[in-house]
Symmetry: C2
Subunit: 443 residues, 2 copies
């Protein structure tokens, strides 16, 4: 078992939503994939380690957790700007995705993981197509992922068999870094019967479900008019909520929906840069959390969020909650950092494995350099983390006890190859024939 | 006269609010402080130049213009988090500013300019205290600034004499890089009589006025109840609007105020990260622009904005306007970039000098590297500029024809000295005695 020592860092601790602490001058002892101990610097016998990472003055924190993404969509970024949700889907995204070939998903996933590692993001919950290619990219990159193969009921039940085969092939693979989940797209693209089949399949495979739900109040109104049920109630009726469920967005939820989500123990992935960009409703994070619903942060795809930089999402979450509640006290620093760490881990059901730097947790660690001019002077580390972070402040990143980025050099992804693929595919990927779309948005 | 060649860059052009163009493979010829010519690469005789800056693959754009800041407040950043405006002023900012000594302003300004240059920001319109120290920092740094010494009527009319002396000493100094302006704080901290004296002084000095106005709808309501006039009407009645006036914020303006601002030719500095952070109202950028009011972007101080990174302000402006208007088409890419360039220049009355890369304009230039993973593949340069930029993407910065940052190395500011000063002053600056405040907020 490899033994690794991160030497003399300061360690961020966010034990609950009211507390941020920094323990100074710590050594982090890593054995295999796990954190074995945190010790005051100088106590560990340096002769015992296979590798020592000097970290003087750096801040160690849990790698960030992206709770909702369509990572390979980085290949399309910049192609759908300044358009509302229905146009975005019907005239841009779904016609563009008609261009997608399997190989694109491997390279797009690799590109997005490279960008995420550079931002200190170590885990992603991804919902996309051709997911065996995404899994291969995660396997090679060394990062952590929860992967679900997106399905619509219009594709027929064959899709469910393929999803099941994907789960069986990849569950707990890549030294345990890859977990799988079922990923029906949304109540408005999946029939009740199809959702019921997904729920049953999830039971038989013992997986959870990752689904878009209640993306805005319009979807809720339309759903109530058509079915007499909100999108969340549709999911309940189909048995989806009986499984561990991650709801992406939940922007259009009613107070009753919030109770329902809380009672079933479902969680919410929150992607506020997307909501503002597409002029959607902004999910009521405070109300969800007050009801006990775990909330995590996500980038969504890069055709709405434009980047995979989760730091920016974090601060936009806090800013947007302050704005919509008209309370500057909303989403204070500690709660915001809690959501970024333990909250996001809990959203994925991984709160005992990631989201904290403690003995027994997996060694998914970002080492941050706060010496940049935009952080000086450091009166308040928590404020710097929420409001000042730049991707370039992330120096070194470990996942599962392995160094994936050292001093801003990626060790497992060949960025030149990734960029060359993206450049060569750019023109093909940007063609749009709206009549050739993979799906139609009509909530 | 020094001749400088930026060789083989791509040049951003935003001629109006509907058009973004990139001219590829251009050489920029700089003579003294000005851009002399843009030529297709290879046409210039390289033997004629004192310095050649290779810029293959880099994007040249006008240096960003920060239209409203209190730059030296970087020294206090992180000290006033998660509090509403009145508490922010009365319990934090004004007690903290009681700690300020003259020397702090030189070092705080230097720190903030360093941060801005690293973000490609070349001009700042600054509103603060001890401005001879700020001017000295700008002079030494080589950047461009419009500087006004903040005054309250509670300080008495001596302050106006000092403002006048500052204007007379520094107007058009530092090779023309420093301009000055009068800076009464706000209608709620300056009596009508004091505002009238400021307006008269501005006339006699032939300067403009930079003032906070209508920061939220509450100020407008209170002003109407007290005086029967909105804050903008108060400024009109005092003769302020007869001078070229830059209004910071204008978040609480009425439709009549907007007409008034437009009719007088006043301009608006927009700082949306601050508005969201303090749960304030967000200024109606679309309505202001529709009325013909020039709008520019600003960071405000770093105790509300937390950084001086104007790229982030730019995208938050677009995102917030989409959200408050519920129109994803609001503030499209071209208009957003127009506001960042010519719009911000016009806000400061400098539209014939800065904000565009054309012959005759001052050579204030940022060279950007869009090769980072977070930009790839580049389908749409305008989208990348608005939504993806990181400070670290800014490679090289020139102001007034001189290189101030080359390949991310600052040439005119000793960052080690600046950081050392900030660290040594940190504890002193963070002491708060609310009874010792420089002013009280009671709109």
């Amino acid at each position: 078992m490899t033994r690794l020592l991160i030497q003399n860092c300061n360690v961020l601790s966010v034990p609950d939503a009211n507390t941020v602490a920094v323990r100074e001058n710590q050594d982090i002892v890593i054995e295999g994939a796990q954190i074995a101990a945190l010790l005051p610097s100088g106590q560990a016998d340096v002769g015992h380690f296979d590798e020592i990472i000097p970290a003087d003055g750096l801040l160690a924190m849990p790698g960030l957790i992206n709770t909702h993404a369509h990572t390979p969509m980085v290949l399309f970024r910049g192609l759908a700007e300044d358009v509302p949700l229905a146009v975005w889907f019907n005239e841009y995204i779904w016609p563009l995705e008609n261009n997608l070939i399997e190989e694109d998903v491997f390279w797009g996933m690799s590109l997005g993981i490279a960008e995420m590692l550079r931002a200190g993001v170590t885990t992603v919950n991804d919902h996309y197509f051709h997911m065996h290619q995404a899994a291969e990219a995660v396997k090679q990159a060394g990062s952590r992922a929860l992967l679900g193969w997106a399905v619509f009921s219009s594709g027929g039940t064959d899709l469910l068999e393929r999803s099941a085969a994907f789960v069986e092939e990849w569950q707990d693979s890549a030294e345990g870094r890859i977990h799988t989940i079922l990923a029906p797209h949304a109540p408005y693209t999946c029939s009740d019967e199809f959702l019921r089949m997904c729920a049953d399949l999830a039971t038989s495979l013992n997986t959870g479900i990752h689904i878009h739900a209640s993306e805005n109040h319009e979807q809720t109104r339309v759903s109530l008019a058509k079915y007499g049920k909100t999108p969340v109630q549709v999911l309940e009726a189909a048995g989806i909520l009986d499984r561990p469920t991650i709801l992406a967005h939940a922007c259009g939820v009613t107070p009753e929906d919030i109770s329902l989500i809380a009672n079933y123990g479902a969680t919410v992935a929150h992607c506020p840069k997307t909501y503002m960009k597409l002029a959607m409703d902004i999910a009521p994070v405070a109300a969800l959390r007050a009801a006990g619903v775990p909330v995590g942060i996500g980038t969504d795809g890069a055709v709405s969020n434009n980047t995979m930089n989760l730091w920016e999402v974090l601060r936009i979450m806090a800013l947007a909650q302050k704005e919509i509640t008209r309370e500057a006290e909303a989403l204070p620093l500690a709660e915001t950092l809690y959501i970024a760490t333990r909250g996001s881990a809990k959203t994925l059901g991984m709160e005992n494995e990631i989201g904290a730097l403690e003995p027994g947790y997996l060694a998914d660690i970002a080492l941050l350099d706060l010496s940049g001019m935009h952080h000086q002077p450091v009166h308040n580390v928590a404020a710097n983390l929420v409001y000042n972070m730049e991707m370039a402040d992330v120096r070194t990143v470990l996942v599962n006890g392995k160094v994936l980025m050292r001093d801003r050099q990626l060790l497992t992804i060949n960025e030149r190859d990734v960029v060359a693929y993206a450049a060569s595919a750019r023109e093909r990927l940007s063609r749009r024939l709206p009549q050739h779309r993979i799906q139609t948005y009509a909530p």
